[in-house]
């Protein structure tokens, strides 16, 4: 069934891919060390704002698209994003605590784990960098940028997805 929620998610996914290709390279900081990952941010936002309905197809497809457009190992981001978005959604859902604090903390942890796992994947594929170097110069700067973007976009995504979901289900709260 086509709902406004699904339209929002599909439109957001397409927009995040376009932003990743067209905008992200131009707003990278510190010589490209801090690079926004719009696709990851959007997926994790959906995971924390509608955890009960979160479908693993979304992170898999978006992760695969990221792998294809970024030139990295195909499957690496698809795996990282699918694992940690689903785990984050499960965590938020199990917490049964519909507060922004839990969702934002979950978002932060999820983003960090996705960036970290992706970095480990690249190292396994022969990327010539040691773990600490990767952590200091790629994972943490990218995570901080992602989290900043996520925190800025969270009210918008949260408001839209929770409202439309509540209207769809016919009761006041998502969970």
């Amino acid at each position: 069934m086509i709902t406004s929620e699904r339209i929002f998610i599909v439109a957001g996914a397409v927009l995040s891919v376009l932003l990743q290709v067209l905008v992200a390279p131009h707003i990278a900081l510190f010589g490209g060390m801090a690079f926004p990952n719009v696709i990851v941010v959007f997926t994790m936002l959906v995971a924390v704002t509608r955890p009960a309905q979160f479908n693993p197809i979304l992170p898999f497809v978006l992760g695969l698209v990221f792998d294809l457009i970024s030139g990295g190992p195909v499957g690496a981001m698809a795996f990282s994003l699918t694992v940690f978005s689903v785990v984050t959604a499960l965590f938020v859902s199990r917490m049964s605590n519909d507060t922004s604090f839990v969702e934002i903390i979950s978002l932060a942890i999820g983003l960090l784990l996705v960036e970290l796992t992706y970095g480990v994947f690249l190292m396994l594929f022969g990327y010539p960098v040691d773990f600490l170097g990767a952590l200091a110069y790629r994972v943490v700067p990218c995570f901080l940028y992602d989290f900043f973007l996520g925190a800025v976009l969270y009210p918008l995504v949260s408001r839209f997805l929770k409202t439309s979901n509540a209207q769809l289900m016919g009761f006041g709260q998502l969970r």
Binding site: L18, V21, N55, F60, S70, G72, G75, A78, V129
Partner: protein
């Protein structure tokens, strides 16, 4: 109860889907790691990168159109009374000024590239940067020249002041250039003053490190580093950068030597793909050629002066003897033809 069983079924299906997707992702990653550059997943990835590069190129071109559309919207929304002729003129002038400034900057950048080509004696094509990597882990750019323009994998790419990277992927009308600062990059270089050979490698912190030097050939700060051409990966004799730090206390035998690149792709919009770089005697040959051209120009100038002198002596017409030779009997413009004797070429007049 039916609701519960439906939810349980849905959750179960989702778990199965989750596991299947994870297995699929791992399988893709494994195949990707094992197949070569010509493998099917790499081919799909290259095709996708080609498409995104074209999208990026189109969007870059749309920048001016977007600005123009913005002006139209502004004008439409403005109060009619405020749109006086003076304001329109002002807007027009501002637009032209912005355009002129853009052209001026582009001309300056291209002039710098041209100067680099002249001073380095390299032959190559100028390319626009149409895309940049969408990933922090990959330091690469996309340029608008491809196999159709003669670009091949492995070619050296330069900015206005030095080497910035190497072509690593070629499509019909686009190519991917891996920057020197990428940790996967490595260029065979030599220190210009001592001729010591080494390798410049990119790193995750964005610096270039000079490695694999002999222990007795440690360079000094300020030494210039140029490509050596060893291994054939980069054209030889092209400037890479300058040594800015030599830390002999570092753990490896030659210490930690940091090279500051002469050029940075983050500030560039155009680059040169080097098709041919000079050998050792190229500079001398080019100077000899330039000297010959200068001589020929000098002789031509003297001939012009002599001609002008003859004109002064014999009048405003051409030298009659040369007229006879050029347009006279037996020639294409000779006597009895439309252009001949007594016509525009003035044989009769000259006599």
């Amino acid at each position: 109860m039916p609701m519960n069983s439906q939810q349980n079924g849905s959750a179960f299906a989702r778990r199965i889907l989750f596991i299947v997707l994870l297995v699929a992702a791992l399988a893709l990653a494994t195949v990707y790691g094992r197949e070569g550059q010509e493998g099917p997943i790499h081919s799909v990835q290259n095709a996708v990168i080609g498409v995104t590069g074209q999208v990026a190129a189109v969007s870059a071109g749309l920048g001016g159109a977007t600005a123009a559309a913005g002006n139209v919207v502004d004008n439409t929304l403005a109060d009619e009374q405020t749109l006086t002729a003076l304001r329109e003129q002002n807007e027009e002038l501002r637009r032209r000024l912005a355009e002129a400034d853009e052209y001026r900057q582009e001309a300056e950048r291209l002039q710098e590239l041209l100067n680099m080509k002249k001073t380095s004696y390299v032959a190559g094509l100028t390319a626009h940067i149409v895309g940049r990597s969408a990933n922090a882990w990959d330091q690469s750019i996309t340029i608008d020249l491809g196999s159709a323009d003669g670009v091949e994998s492995g070619m050296t790419v330069m900015g206005a002041y030095g080497v910035i990277g190497q072509v690593v992927g070629v499509r019909e009308h686009q190519s991917t250039v891996r920057l020197l600062t990428d940790p996967n990059s490595g260029a065979a270089v030599m220190v210009q003053s001592s001729r010591a050979n080494g390798i410049v490698r990119g790193s995750v912190n964005g610096l270039l490190y000079l490695e694999d030097l002999d222990e007795d050939q440690i360079p000094e700060v300020g030494d210039v580093v140029v490509t050596s051409g060893l291994g054939g990966s980069y054209q030889s004799g092209l400037i890479v950068g300058t040594i800015v730090s030599v830390d002999k206390t570092a753990t490896n035998s030659t210490g930690s030597i940091v090279v500051s690149p002469n050029d940075s792709a983050s500030m560039l919009e155009e680059v040169i793909v080097v098709f041919y770089a000079p050998d050792e005697g190229a500079k001398e040959r080019a100077e000899a050629e330039a000297e010959e051209v200068k001589k020929a120009e000098e002789e031509a100038r003297k001939a012009e002066e002599e001609k002008a002198l003859r004109e002064q002596i014999y009048g405003s017409n051409d030298d009659p003897y040369s007229s006879y030779t050029d347009y006279g009997y037996g020639t294409d413009y000779g006597y009895g033809t439309n252009n001949g004797y007594g016509t525009d070429y003035g044989y009769a007049q000259a006599y």
